[in-house]
């Protein structure tokens, strides 16, 4: 894993896209890629510049780890689209990731607010 290439340049904090995708699927249930991207931007209320294409390598990665699974389906506008759902391992993983994120935020916060 030493020479993992950096993700395409994005303003999404490194490593948080997975968490966002998992959380979105947890909240919304079954969604296609466009729906996931739309939902993330909606929540961010324009504060996040998401390169929507980067969502697909992330989805592939999560699927390989067994956290989500996908199936072809038909969209509201009658298009063939691939729908993603959270698996039970994915659900457990989400809890782990949430905790990790909370810890990271807590550490950074403590650093920032530490008395000199």
């Amino acid at each position: 894993m030493a020479n993992r290439k950096r993700s395409p340049k994005s303003e999404v904090p490194y490593g948080t896209l997975d968490l966002m995708v998992l959380k979105t699927l947890d909240g919304m249930g079954r969604l296609h890629g466009f729906g996931i991207a739309r939902r993330i931007e909606q929540i961010a209320q324009g504060a996040l510049a998401l390169n929507q294409g980067t969502i697909y390598p992330a989805l592939l990665r999560l699927e390989h780890r067994g956290w989500i699974r996908s199936k072809w389906g038909t969209s509201e506008s009658n298009r063939r689209a691939r729908y993603y759902t959270l698996t039970s391992t994915g659900k457990k993983q989400l809890a782990v990731e949430e905790q990790r994120w909370a810890d990271t935020v807590a550490i950074v916060n403590r650093l920032l607010h530490a008395e000199p």
Binding site: S7, T54, P57, H64, S77, A81
Partner: protein, 895 residues
Amino acid sequence: MTTLRTLAARVVAAILRRRIVARVQEEIETHRSMLVSSMMREGMSRAQAELAATREMGDADAVQEAVHEQLSVPALDSVWADLRYAFRVLRRGPAFAVMAIGIMALGIGLNTGIFTVLNTVLLGGIRAPGSDELVAVSQIVNGMPDRIDKGRRVERFSTEEYRTYRAEASTLSGLFGYSRVYSATLSGDLAQDLSGRLVTCAYFDVLQQPPLLGRSFVAADCEAGAEPVLLLDYDLWVTAFGADPGVLNRTITLNRARLTVIGVAPPDVFEPDLQALDYFAPISAAPLLRPDQDHFSNGDVGWLNLVGRHDPGVSIEQIATEFRVIAARIDETRANRLTSIMVAPATSMSGTQSASELLAALSVAMTPSLLVLLIVCANMAGLMLTRATTRSAEIALRISLGASRWRVVRQLLTEAVVLAVAGGLLGSVLAFWAVDWLVAVLSSSFPGISLPLDLSPDRGALAFALVLSVLTGVLCGLAPSMSITRADLNVGAKQTPRGDIPAETGRLRAVLLGLQVAVCVVLVITASVFVRGLVQARSADFGFDYENVLVATIDYRSFGYDANRAESLQRRLRDSVLQLPGVESAAQVWREPLSDRGGMISVRPGTADVPTYRWAWRNWVSPDYFSVIGTPLVRGRTFRESELADNSGVAIVTNETARRLWPGQDAIGQRLVTRFGSEGERSLVVIGVVRDAQLRAIGEADRYFVYLPVDDTVRTQLSTIIRSDAGTGELSARIRQIVDGFDADLAVRVRPLEANIAHLQGLSSFATGLATSLGGLALAIASLGRFGVVSYTVTCRKREIGIRVALGASISDVLRLILARTLQPVAIGAAVGVGVAAAASRLVSGVDVRIGVTGLDPVSIGGAVLLILTVALGAALWPARQGLRVDPAVTLRHE
């Protein structure tokens, strides 16, 4: 766990790479167009929306790259390095590589060969041009209680049904049907029993196998009352007619019917279910060959298996759908009738349709060769372990330098797989070469089976060999490499290869040795059981005198004879034969000794308080039978002429039967109760006891055997047996004359009783040959491996041994020390092997094998265990002694 999962998913993804890339591409495209339309809904023009969407999606190349990275397997790059290293290591020790590849080649080659035969013969498609377009159609008809052919798992089609499907099925370009095997007796100079099938007239056309000579059937041949014709099978044409082209338009007599030969089938013609055929006749010939059961015109009889040919591009599902529609229309003609239709690719065994039976046959045939492969695996694992131990210094070094354990295991596994694949390739070459020989042996051992003339290696067999090789490699390499990398690194780095062997690998080695011994014991016991059977088949006293006895058989029923007519012919035949010079005696019997057919009945002693029935063989005989066959009466008398009628109520039993049913009593005058399905219970009086004989199988006298006087129920199935010292040929000719004089249409078949024994002995030889080759092969491989391992161990322990000898230990003390390590696993392995063999023999003991295989006995077990112990100790002792010849002083100084 997640890492493994991810790796597995990545390997799969790497294989499916192109499909996944295409899938993601499609998802991104859809995403883009969704973005565009949502922006256009918000009021942008198409051009603006397209531009904005491209911006929103981000850098397309970077996304592509990320997807590709996700799909690559990081390990794949280093596999190449592992392979190169493995080749280098193996080149450095060519002796080891040659030995390993040789052993692997034997194990994998054996399995590939047997698999090739089974795969093409049992599961392969029909061997005809464009056979992938052939489908077998079968049905199950419900709600028709009167339909004949019930009780089969898959029913056949009636003539009418066949015609309906043939006329209406548009998804098929052709459809033909074939019957079960029709036995018929050929009359005249060439008199013999023939096996053939009745086929619909498109048979040769749909198969695209035109006759070698003459014409194939035309539609008119299959109409009721058509001029009777037939095609000869190629083999019959050559053997019986001397390949004479003049046979065309000749008339031959089968049963009573005269049929004109219109052609000769090609040598490789499709013969269903691998049953060798002598003739093909059109379905309209059914009433001629069997006047008593006209399947051709009876609409309630299912008797045809259907095979169709479809055009390329038509799917099996389409064919099945169309057939179901037609079946529904047929169902409407009868109340309650409900037909299910099944369509599947046609195979050479489609007619039997019993997948579970095929699977059972496959597994029985594959089990011994897979056991040999197991020995090969255990052996290779032992050798790998031995070698890895010599390399433990190198391995310890690599691990201490930071190589992960997984990395080292992978390296060792790669070596094992390289060896296995090389062995597998060599073995497959040997196998494909040996398959022709195997088929030739099979064909000559089982004359009734029709095997394809050539079996060329196919993709299935190659894939099987490759998968088996890789599996074998992993299996051989995994245990030793795990074990060796677990061993204590410090000890390894400091001491081996000179020091002692780590306990860990020592235990694994013992398990591997025990496993080989156990499998060897199973195979050798099996072989010795067969050998004992063969010896008995060659030398045993069967309890009857089979020399100078002829059996004359007439299929009375096929000629429309009733019991009365059959009886008068039998009487005439017997009286006339007895007049002939050299003839001593003649009698009638239902089934002659060691016939391949027979019947069983339940019996119990009439006196028993609690009725317990046992299965007994039964036969019907005339009074002179026992003197003709040379089985003397021990007590009592034989039947009287007056008792040859139904319900005479007398029976004769064998000595063993009497002993078992009435222990310690005189059997004469006892009541014997028999029960047979429809006949119900009958009470008989025992009037005679005859000597025991091996009447059903060679190798063991039958336990329960009951003789009844011939009566009208079996009259039309009786054979005449004749004891005579006149030559077989002359006597057969005389018998034919006598039968001709009675009824010129009748065909009689005459053969020596010895033929039955020769047939069983042939079967026994084949089974014994197979079992002993496999047992011998297993033993050879196992002892070879043992030899190598002990040689190595002795080399390893030279220093320890040198010290012991220097301190005054005798050579025999040291040998005992080394042998102790061999003896324990060998003893445990042998015990396990005997247990498994015993359990297995209980499983197969219910099978009627008829070749003197009577299950386990102390001689077989003892002999096998003794042989294996000897070989195992020998394989250990010899290299040990060789190793000890060295002067201890030299060994110690060398250190």
